[in-house]
Amino acid sequence: MKKILLSSIIIIVGIVFIGRLSYLQIFSFSPNQVLEDPAIKAIYDYPERGYIYDRDGALLVANQPAYDVMVIPREVKPLDTLEFCGLLGIEKEDFKSKLKKARVYSPRLPSVLVHQLSKEDYARLQEKMRKYQGFYIQKRSLRYYTTNSGANVLGYISEVNEGDLARNPYYVQGELTGRTGIEKQYEEVLRGRKGVKYIQKDRFNRDIGPYKDGALDTLPQQGQEIRVTLDKDLQEYGEQLMHGKRGGIVAIEPATGEILAMISGPTYDPSLLVGRQRSKNYSKLHYDSISKPTWDRSILAEPSPGSPFKTLNALVALEEGVISPSTTIRCYNGFYVGRTLRGCHCGGGMRTMNSGIYNSCNAYFAGTFRKIYDKFETTDKGMDVWEKHMKSFGLGDYLGYDLPTGRKGRIPGKEYYDRVYGDNRWSSSYIISNSIGQGEIAATPIQLANMTAAIANRGFYYTPHVIKQIGGKDISIPEFTEKKKTTISPQHFDPVIQGMADVYTKGTARWLQIPGIEIAGKTGTVENFTKIDGVRTQLTDHSVFVAFAPVNNPQIAIAVYIENGYYGSRYAGHIASLLIEKYIKGEITRKDLEKRMLEKTLEHEYAKPLSGEEFKINEYVW
C-alpha cells in the first residue's frame, strides 16, 4: 500500500487532467470562435444599399448620409458642456444622462450620444469637433425617398432585433435589415455583403495589428440596384385619390403579371420612418389601431369580393355547359330562396347573361349558380368542380407574389360547409350568396386584380410580382415568367368580357366611361358587418370595382376596394376609371371627376361606428 500510494496518485491525477482537458478542448470546443474571441475585433466595411427604381427607371429610393455623434467615455476630457450642448442641440441634463449611460455600457467602447444629426448641424459641429476629446462623428447611411408614396409596398429598414440575430448569423447588433415590403423581400440583393477586417486586440482593447495578417478578411460586396414593376406616377396618383379613404388598390399588367401600383389607404410618407423622428413616428403609425396606416390593405384586407365575382360564376357555368350566353332567367326584383325573396337592384325582368352582368342582376347569377350544382348528382361533386375552377384563378390561396406578407382569401369547399352545417346537411340554397360574391367568399385586392387580369388575358395569368430587374438585368424567375392557365376555355371569355364592356356603355358604370378607351369592368357593392359593443351591426357597403383596358389589348387590370364607399360605381368605380386613364393616356381629361375624388373623403363614414350613437348606413346622397 505505502509503496504504490504515490504512483496511484500520480496516475489518477494524470487521468483527471486528461479528462478535464478533453472536456474543455474536445467537447466544449466550437470551431467558429473567431467572433466570440475577445482578442479579435471585427471591423466591418458596409457596402451601400442598392437603390430602387420604378419600371421606367425613375428613382424611388436612394441613400442619404446621416451623422451620429459618438462618445468613448474614458477618453472624454473636461469640456465646455454648455457650448457643446448648444452645438448638439440638446439639453445639458440630457447630455449628462446620456454620457452616464454610455459609461455604464462601456467606458472604452463607443456609444451613440446623439442620433442622426441634420446636415446643417453636422456642418456646424464638424469644424469644432477637434475641441472635444473623446467625441467623434460617425457617418451612417440612411434611406432617402424621392417619393412620398408606396410606403407599404417599398417597406422600411430598421435595426436587427434579437430574433433576426438568432435566425441569421450574418447580422451583428446594430446593423440594419429590411423589415417589410420590397426592402425585406430583396434584403440580400439590396444589402450586398459587408466586408470584414479582423483586428487582434489586447485585454485593454488596444489594436495590436491585423489577425493572421488579414488572411480571413473579406472585401465588401456591393448591394445591387433593383428596378421594380411599379409605376411611380400611377402609384403617387392613386395615393392622392385615396385621400381620406380606406381600402386597397392593385393594378397589374395582364401580359406580364407585373404589379403597376399597390396602394393602401390610409398610408404615410416613407420618409417618416427615417431619421431622428423615426421612433416617435413609428409608434404613432404602429399604434394607430383604427385607421392602421401600416396595414397594407392591398394584400392583407380580405373582404367579400361582391358582384365582380359574378363574372367568374358566368365563366364556370359556360365552361360546364349549364348556360349559354343566350340563356334567360327572370328577375323578380330579386330571387326566391325557399319562400324568402332576396333583393336585386337591377330593375327586374328577363335577363340574358349579357344584361345580367352589366346590370349586375343577383337573380340571374343565383339561377346560374343553381344550374351549376344541379348538373351533378351531389352537391359535393358540384362543389368540387366549382372550387377547382375558382382556385384556377388564384383565389383561395396564397398567390406566390414576391412580397413578404399576404392572405389566402377564402374559397370555401365542401369540408368548410360540412363543418358548418354537418355532413350532407347543406345544398346550393345554403350557399347561394356565393353566386354574387358574398357569403363565405373572401379575396384580397391583389387576388381580385389577378382574377381580372386572367379574364383580360382570356384564360391565363402570370403570378403578380414587383421585381423587374436586378442589377440591370431582367429577371428570369420561372415562377413569374410561366403562364398559369385557368380551367376555363378561351372561347367562353368573350361573351363575359362583352358584358363587362357593356357595364361601361349601358350598365352600372356608364357615367365612368373614358373617352377614347374601350374598357371592361364590373361593379361590386358588398354588405359588411362589424361588432359594436358585441352587437353585430351592418355598416355602409364596401365599394368594389374591377376593370381592365383596353378591351382588346389589355395594358392594365385593376381592382379597387374602398371600405364603406357604398355603390361600386361610386368611389371604387371613379378611382378605377381615373387610374386607367392616367396610366393609358398619361393625363386626366375629366377634371370634374378627378376633383371630386381628390376632395371627397369617407371620414364621416368611418366615424359612425365609433360615435357611440345610432347611425344610418348606405345614404343616398354623396
Binding site: 500500500m1 505505502k2 509503496k3 500510494l5 504515490l6 504512483s7 496518485i9 500520480i10 496516475i11 491525477v13 494524470g14 483527471v16 487532467f17 486528461i18 478535464r20 482537458l21 478533453s22 474543455l24 478542448q25 474536445i26 466544449s28 470546443f29 470551431p31 470562435q33 474571441d37 475577445p38 482578442a39 479579435i40 487582434q200 486586440k201 489586447d202 485585454r203 495590436i208 489577425y211 493572421k212
Partner: protein, 429 residues
C-alpha cells in the same frame, strides 16, 4: 570513492534527464510565445523575459555540472546546514525582503531577485530525509513523528505570512515521505475525510451532511455490525465529531474567511447560482481562471499553432508566462500539446518513483520521495488551477514557469537526486 570506475555520465538516469530537457524546452517555447514582441529577434535578448529565461536555463545547466561533480554523500552530510541556512534566509525576508506583486518573498541582489523558498523546498526535503533515515529515528514513535513534522512546519509557517500559502502547501506535501516510511495511513484517511466533509458541507449544507452521515452509519450498523464487530461508542463519537466539524466549517467559512476566499470556493465548487453575481466573480476573483479556461478551450484539439494564440498575444490571461503558462500550451498546441505535457509529467514522476524504490540507501530513497512530493504537488495544483478544477493557489509549474529561482530550485532539487541515484551501486563500498 568511485569504485565502479565508470564516469558519472554513464551512471546517471538519462531517461529522467530527457524528460527534464523536454519539459524545460517546451516551457521555454511557451514563455517565448507569451512574451515575445515582433521587433525583438534575438532569443538571448536580456531585455526580454524569454531572453532572461534562456539565461536561467544556461545557469541551471551549469548548476547541474556542479551538482554532478560533487561527492554524493556530501548532500547527506550538509543537509542540516542547508536547512538552517534556508530557514535563516526565510526569516531574513521579514527584515530585508523585497515585495513583488504583494508577496515579500524575494531578496534584491541587484542583478536578479532571489526567492529563498524555492531553495528551502530542496533543503527541507534533504533535512527530512536525513532525520528519518537516522538510525535512531523510529517513525512509529510519537516523539519522532513530532520532530519530523516540525522540520516540515517550520518553513511552512515562515512562508505563510509572506504571504505565500502555495509554498506552505508544498512543504506539507512532504508528509508523503513519512507515509512511505511507515506513518500509519489512517492519518491520510482522516485528512481526506475532513476535506470531503468540508466540500460537502459547502455544497449541500450541514443538515444534508448530517443526514448523509446518519444514513451511512445506519447502514453499516444494521448490516455489518456483527461481522466487523464495530464497537458502538467510537462510532457514536465519530458521528458527533463529523457533525461538529461540519458545523464548524459553516462557521469558519462564513465568519473567519474573507470574501475573496469565499468567492474562490464559490467559483471552484460552482456554489454561486445567481448569474449576475457569477458574472461579477468571473470579472474579478475568477478572472484569471475564466480567461485561462477560455484560452485552453479555444485551442481545440490541434491548437492555433506556435505564436498564433490570439488570447496569448492579447495578454488576456494575467501572469501567463509564470503561473498560467499552461494556458499558452492549451491555446497554441491544443489537446495534443496539453496531453503531451501531462503525460511527460506523469512518466517523469513514475520514473522517479521507480528510481526511489531501487535505492538501497534509505536517505536517497526518502529524498527521492521528497522530490516526487514537491514536484507532484506543484504540478497538481498548478495545472488543476489553470484548467479550473482547483481554486486559485499561486504556485509555479515546475520547469515551465518563468522565473530564475524557480527553475534553478527545481533543477537542483531533481539533479541532487539523480546524483544520489547515480551513486547507488557504491553505497556499501
Amino acid at each position: 570513492m568511485n569504485m565502479s570506475g565508470k564516469s558519472i555520465l554513464k551512471r546517471i538516469d538519462w531517461l529522467t534527464v530527457l524528460f527534464y530537457i523536454l519539459l524545460v524546452g517546451i516551457g521555454w517555447l511557451n514563455i517565448y510565445s507569451s512574451t515575445f514582441t515582433e521587433n525583438n529577434p534575438s532569443i538571448f535578448d536580456l531585455g526580454q523575459l524569454y531572453g532572461k529565461q534562456m539565461l536561467y536555463i544556461v545557469v541551471s545547466f551549469a548548476a547541474i555540472i556542479v551538482i554532478l561533480a560533487l561527492e554524493a554523500n556530501s548532500y547527506e552530510r550538509f543537509a542540516s546546514i542547508f536547512y538552517i541556512i534556508s530557514m535563516v534566509l526565510l526569516l531574513g525576508l521579514f527584515v530585508f525582503g523585497k515585495t513583488i506583486a504583494g508577496a515579500t518573498s524575494w531578496y534584491d541582489l541587484g542583478v536578479f531577485n532571489l526567492q529563498p523558498s524555492e531553495f528551502a523546498k530542496m533543503a527541507t526535503a534533504l533535512a527530512l530525509a536525513k532525520y528519518l533515515s537516522d538510525i535512531q529515528t523510529d517513525i512509529k514513535r510519537w516523539k519522532d513523528q513530532l520532530y519530523a513534522f516540525l522540520i516540515i512546519l517550520i518553513p511552512a509557517f515562515l512562508v505563510i505570512p509572506q504571504p505565500d500559502p502555495g509554498s506552505a502547501l508544498v512543504f506539507f506535501s512532504l508528509v508523503f515521505v513519512m507515509f512511505r516510511e511507515g506513518l500509519p495511513l489512517y492519518h491520510l484517511g482522516i485528512a481526506l475525510l475532513a476535506v470531503l466533509l468540508f466540500i460537502f458541507t459547502l455544497m449541500f449544507g450541514t443538515t444534508w451532511v448530517a443526514i448523509g452521515i446518519s444514513l451511512l452509519i445506519g447502514i453499516v450498523f444494521l448490516f455489518k455490525r456483527k461481522k466487523l464487530k464495530i464497537p458502538l461508542i467510537p462510532l457514536f463519537v465519530f458521528f458527533i465529531i463529523a457533525i461538529g466539524f461540519s458545523l464548524s466549517v459553516d462557521l469558519v467559512f462564513n465568519n473567519v474567511f474573507e470574501q475573496r476566499h469565499r468567492d474562490r470556493f464559490s467559483l471552484w465548487l460552482r456554489l454561486e447560482k445567481d448569474p449576475v453575481k457569477l458574472a461579477e466573480i468571473k470579472k474579478t476573483i475568477g478572472y484569471n481562471t475564466y480567461q485561462s479556461e477560455k484560452a485552453i478551450e479555444s485551442g481545440g484539439f490541434f491548437g492555433k499553432g506556435f505564436l498564433e494564440g490570439t488570447r496569448t498575444k492579447g495578454d488576456f490571461v494575467p501572469e501567463q508566462h509564470t503561473d498560467y503558462i499552461f494556458s499558452t500550451v492549451g491555446e497554441e498546441w491544443g489537446f495534443l500539446g496539453t496531453a503531451t505535457v501531462v503525460i511527460l509529467f506523469t512518466l517523469m514522476l513514475l520514473r522517479l518513483v521507480y528510481l526511489s524504490e531501487r535505492q538501497k540507501n534509505q536517505f536517497s530513497r526518502m529524498y527521492g520521495y521528497g522530490v516526487i512530493s514537491i514536484l507532484l504537488i506543484h504540478y497538481f495544483i498548478n495545472i488543476g488551477m489553470v484548467i479550473g478544477i482547483l481554486p486559485t493557489i499561486g504556485i509555479p509549474l515546475p520547469f515551465f514557469s518563468y522565473g530564475g529561482s524557480g527553475l534553478l530550485g527545481f533543477t537542483v532539487l531533481l539533479f541532487i537526486f539523480l546524483r544520489l541515484d547515480a551513486n547507488r551501486l557504491n553505497e556499501w563500498s
